[in-house]
């Protein structure tokens, strides 16, 4: 019987080694280890053995069974691995094909600029305020030291809708509103971004354009404070290497008044077509709040001083993103808009 078992083991091992596919392997498993398999048959014939022989033969059968089971299992694992490799091979794709388009929208460049300015000034403790676009003559002009008939009103020919109402020509209109609304006449720190309108229709001007206005009123505010504030503003918007030049100018609502030039960010001040060979680009209007403006809006000019500044948002957007024509900002070609969907 022992010989018979060994013969089975030998045959089985040979057959397992020569097996050709999963089917043959599964047949072999049945042939040797199944309920009607050869080894099982041997166990069934153990009744004829002596009690002494039984445990010896029994354990021999178990050893062979374990051996064969292990061999078959190994073979099975090998087939599974081969099958998986084949499947993976079949699933191979062209990873150089483009990814699926997943598109979010985009923010208009002028609003990007507004948000950047808002974030900067809010971080310095300023409030962002807004006022009406359909403004009164009183707030747009009179309260800013621009009485009717003032020649400076020419600089900003206006869209009136009635003798008293007009589309605001400047965000400065919000200045007077903020000062008047602040009943305790405590210090003020605000910026006001928004849309403004002038009767201008040449190639470089749009009748509608964006402006941002800044106003600080407190005791002991000086031109040096204005300069320091604008240095931070300009460097943040147009680059850390920007240099500023204060050029005396005239605005009815400030005295003294300054235009602020920034060293040309294209050529670095050497002179190019953007700065018309001057090395400087006019970017801001600014000055110390005119005593008449303080007085008219309830602040005592003997106690308080302040500074104000304003700049064009469209121009800032054009500078920052290299936009060559102001009209692109307002025609809203979707191919133009879609470009503004990445971080700065």
């Amino acid at each position: 019987m022992k010989e018979q078992i060994e013969q089975i083991s030998k045959n089985a091992k040979e057959e397992i080694a020569n097996v050709k596919d999963v089917k043959e392997l599964s047949d072999l498993k049945v042939k040797y280890l199944g309920k009607k398999g050869e080894l099982t048959a041997v166990l069934r014939g153990m009744g004829a053995l002596t009690p002494e022989e039984r445990p010896i033969i029994g354990s021999l059968v178990n050893v062979v069974r374990d051996e064969l089971e292990k061999l078959i299992e190994e073979k099975e694992e090998q087939y599974k691995a081969e099958e998986l490799t084949k499947k993976l091979e079949e699933e191979k794709i062209d990873i150089t094909l483009p990814g699926t388009k997943i598109k979010t929208g985009s923010k208009h460049p002028v609003n990007r600029i507004i948000e950047e300015i808002e974030d900067l000034f809010v971080s310095m403790g300023y409030d962002v305020v807004d006022g009406p676009e359909l403004e009164t003559d009183e707030y747009c002009f009179e309260r800013l030291n621009l009485p009717k008939g003032h020649p400076a009103r020419d600089m900003q020919d206006s869209f009136y809708v009635s003798p008293e109402y007009l589309l605001r020509t400047q965000t400065s209109a919000v200045q007077a509103r903020v000062m008047m609304a602040n009943e305790e006449k405590t210090p003020i720190r605000v910026i006001c971004p928004g849309k403004t309108y002038r009767r201008d229709d040449d190639a470089t001007h749009s009748h509608q354009f964006g402006q941002v206005e800044g106003l600080v009123i407190d005791k002991n505010i000086s031109l040096a404070d204005l300069k320091g504030t604008l240095e931070i503003f300009v460097k943040k918007m147009l680059g850390e290497n920007s240099k500023l030049r204060f050029r005396p100018s005239y605005f009815p609502f400030t005295e003294p008044s300054y235009e602020v030039d920034v060293s040309c960010f294209k050529c670095g001040g050497k002179g190019c077509n953007l700065c018309k060979q001057t090395g400087w680009i006019e970017v801001l209007g600014s000055g110390m709040v005119h005593p008449n403006v303080l007085k008219m809006n309830g602040y005592d000019p003997e106690k308080y001083t302040g500074f104000a500044f304003g700049t064009g948002l469209d121009r800032l957007a054009m500078f920052k993103y290299g936009i060559t024509d102001i009209r692109y900002l307002y025609t809203n070609d979707v191919r133009f808009l879609k470009q503004f969907d990445r971080k700065d």
Partner: protein
């Protein structure tokens, strides 16, 4: 203001070798310029004499000339008809550069060598309006005393520099050579020379035969003088050239002198032909509808706001703006009444805006210095005597209410340093005032400054501080940040949050014009309001303020469509304007427009339809915290919308917007729009965002298809389902709407996916079936059936 450097050098000693430096120095003190350069931009010019002049052998109009240029004789071929032997000419030598990038090279013209060019004035680059007929027809003929080999520009007094300033509105004083001289004097620390006004006077005093009557408060100073026997002829070269450099066309000596004096002093003058007057000048306001034919031969109808000069019977001139035709100086004029006056700047500005902006009106409207008014009339007599052989009649007719005192302003060093944030040495402060030509007195720490009348722009101490800043320079101010209490800044976050949400939903933000045509301004709304129109629009295309933003966004859509961009998904937050009950108002609005294909997440491109834009509206409203509080209501739709594909957006029972398809008669392509009045919406308060506990027990999904009348709103079915199901029903989604085979005609099948969930247990089949049965019963009770 075009500044002739030759002209200003009469009054202040400056070096104009480097004109750009002057222009830059002026810029630094606040006077910007547009351009600067030489009056004549040509090099290598020399005075020559034509020694020989022969016809060119191969041409019927060219001449071959031998020209003496001082150190040599050059052969030059010339085509001008007036070239001839003995003529003194302007020669552009080989190597010369003429305006228009024109370089003179050695040449050969039809076989004849030519070593240069004989020039006309036009070729030297003078503007067309300054050219005479002779200048256009041929080369310039220099007088016989022109020195051969010399510089022709210098000889003609055309070696001038011109800086074209763009002055600020407050510096009317700089619209004069004298004003410029003071400004340059302050920069370079040079004194300003006196103007020459001396002349002889003779005969009976003007006041004996001439009467002045001022009948309006809008004339504060009026001076008149009489000169006789003028001879009208061409002006001397220096007057002509300085006028040209200043942009004014020379006419004749008399007219030129009035312009010359205006340029010098800033005071416009007017000359009347004395023989056309009746011995009287009256200044008054015009009568409404009064007629006057002005110098340009146009009959003007005047209003009560126009100041006129009258001869006592009728208007003969529009004060400060334009003279009348009847009293104009002509070639035959002999006797002149000179007017030098100051009128109300505001009135002049209004009138000139209607009629004509001129060199004169631009000076009147910025205000004038009464000292100059006197100076100008005397200077005018001085020049008329010298260059027009005028006899000046004794005396001055005058009406004068002005003060000619210097303005006294007190200021302290502390005032200056506090406002500038800079320590200007006391000595430097006084130096600034001295350089500006202001007298001052020191009284302890206070300085009393006496500002001359020419500086109309200075009236308060801040103006003086500006002067110190200007002349001393603010470049050395060290910028610092204001010392202010630390506090958080604030801004209105909501518009930004909405904007970011819309961008995440794949929409591109636009920036549109608020001005539209009045026909568009009342569209896309049923609201009652009055349109807001511009009083004076630039174009009819943009004559009204929009109420709805939809027309603005439709314009953008049209633009893109015209440029072959068909997939347009855009939004904007902006204002809409109206007048209601006599009050103007404006509302913040959000507008969305979608057309073409929309990219919806991964690999899900879809043609935009109503449900996509409605989905965007819902996602936004949910995001803003209005979940379960809004509904989309049919009916009451403006006619510009598709009546069957449009809904009002109602939040908390209040209509806040509209969403739907644009009517096919408005846009042929399917275009969907949505507009929400943000002011109305955001008034509706929302609770804070709060985390909801996630159930630890699984939810169970069941599908249910309902067959209902085709026109029944699906929302009604959802309401029935929700009511019947109770609070274990977690969500109700529609996943299919079907009509056709197997569904009775006139009906539709709507398939719902219902999700059930409890917070405290796993729901059993029995529980679910129980609920489903309740739902089915409720639906069947309403006459609908369940699709099996």
């Amino acid at each position: 203001m075009k500044l002739s450097t030759n002209f200003v050098k009469d009054y202040v000693d400056i070096d104009d070798g480097d004109i750009e430096k002057i222009a830059d120095d002026m810029t630094r003190v606040g006077n910007e310029y547009d351009s600067c350069g030489k009056l004549i931009n040509a090099t290598n010019l020399v005075i020559g004499e034509v020694k020989e002049c022969e016809m060119h052998p191969d041409s019927d109009h060219l001449h071959v000339c031998k020209v003496d240029v001082g150190n040599e004789i050059l052969q030059i071929v010339c085509g001008a008809p007036n070239v001839r032997k003995g003529l003194k000419v302007i020669v552009a030598l080989v190597g010369a550069e003429l305006p228009g990038d024109f370089k003179i090279k050695k040449g050969n013209i039809r076989g004849q060598e030519s070593n240069g060019m004989l020039c006309s004035i036009a070729e030297l680059g003078l503007e067309n309006k300054f050219l005479t007929d002779a200048d256009r027809d041929g080369i310039h003929e220099l007088p016989q005393d022109a020195p051969v080999g010399g510089d022709p520009l210098k000889f003609m007094e055309m070696d001038d520099g011109v800086i074209d300033f763009e002055l600020t509105a407050n510096r009317g004083d700089l619209l004069s050579i004298l004003g410029m001289a003071y400004e340059l004097g302050a920069i370079y620390d040079k004194p300003v020379k006196e103007i020459e006004t001396s002349h002889k006077e003779d005969g009976e005093d003007i006041n004996k035969s001439f009467k002045l009557e001022i009948n309006t408060e809008n004339c504060e100073l009026f001076l008149a003088k009489r000169v006789e026997n003028v001879s009208i002829k061409e002006s001397p070269a220096f007057i002509k050239n300085r006028l040209i450099a200043s942009g004014i066309r020379p006419i004749n000596n008399v007219v030129d002198i009035s312009n010359y004096v205006m340029l010098e002093t800033g005071q416009p003058l007017h000359y009347y032909d004395a023989d056309t007057l009746k011995g009287k000048i009256e200044v008054r306001m015009a009568k409404e509808g009064e007629k006057l034919t002005t110098l340009d031969n146009i009959e003007r109808t005047l209003s009560e706001d126009d100041i006129v000069i009258s001869d006592g019977t009728k208007a003969i001139g529009l004060a400060g703006v334009m003279g009348g035709l009847d009293t104009e100086i002509e070639e035959t004029t002999k006797n002149i009444i000179i007017e030098s006056a100051i009128f109300n700047p505001v009135k002049i500005r209004q009138t000139s805006k209607k009629i004509l902006r001129s060199e004169a009106s631009s000076r009147f409207e910025k205000g004038l210095d009464p000292v100059r008014t006197y100076m100008a009339i005397e200077r005018s007599c001085n020049l008329l005597e010298k260059y027009a052989d005028a006899k000046v009649v004794t005396g001055l007719a005058k009406y004068d209410t002005t003060s000619k005192e210097d303005k006294e302003i007190s200021i302290t060093y502390e005032d200056i340093n506090n406002l500038l944030g800079l320590e200007v040495p006391e000595k430097e402060v006084l130096e600034v005032f001295r350089k500006l030509g202001f007298k001052y007195k020191e009284e302890g720490k206070t300085i009393k400054v006496y500002v001359p009348t020419r500086r109309l722009d200075i009236s308060i101490k801040e103006d003086l501080i500006e002067e110190v800043g200007r002349i001393y320079g603010v470049d050395n101010i060290e910028g610092k940040l204001p010392i202010l209490p630390v506090r958080p800044g604030s801004y209105n976050k909501v518009p930004r949050e909405i904007r970011n949400k819309m961008i995440l939903l794949g929409l591109n933000e636009t920036l549109s014009y608020i001005l539209v045509n009045d026909k568009e301004a009342s569209k896309f709304t049923l609201d009652e309001f009055e349109m807001v129109r511009l009083l004076d629009p630039m174009t009819e295309e943009r004559n009204t303020l929009r109420y709805s933003m939809i027309p603005s966004l439709l314009k953008i859509y049209e633009y893109n469509k015209a440029h072959n961009v068909k997939d347009v998904s855009i939004f904007e937050i902006g204002k809409g304007f109206y007048k209601k009950n006599g009050e103007y108002g404006e509302d913040s609005k959000l507008c969305v427009l979608m057309s073409g294909e929309y990219y919806l997440g991964v690999d899900n491109r879809k043609q935009v339809d109503f449900y996509i834009i409605k989905g965007i509206a819902e996602e936004l409203l949910n995001y803003l915290g209005y979940e379960n509080r809004y509904s989309f209501v049919a009916g009451n739709i403006p006619q510009e919308f598709h009546p069957g594909q449009t809904a009002q957006i109602v939040v908390n029972g209040k209509q806040v917007g509209i969403v739907g398809r644009v009517h096919p008669t408005v846009s042929k392509e399917p275009v969907y729009v949505m507009e929400i009045n943000l002011d109305l919406l955001l008034e509706i308060k929302t609770g804070k965002m709060k985390y909801k506990e996630i159930s630890k027990f699984p939810s169970i999904k069941k599908d249910l298809a309902v067959i209902a009348e085709k026109n029944l709103a699906s929302e009604e079915i959802a309401k029935i389902i929700k009511k019947a199901a109770g609070n274990l029903l977690k969500s109700t989604d529609v996943f299919d709407v079907y009509t056709g085979e197997n569904v009775e005609k006139g009906k539709k099948s709507i398939a719902y996916s219902l999700e059930f969930e409890a917070q405290d247990r796993t729901l059993t089949d029995d529980e679910i079936n129980d609920i489903l049965n309740k739902i089915i019963q409720a639906i069947e009770k309403q006459g609908m059936e369940i699709r099996k």
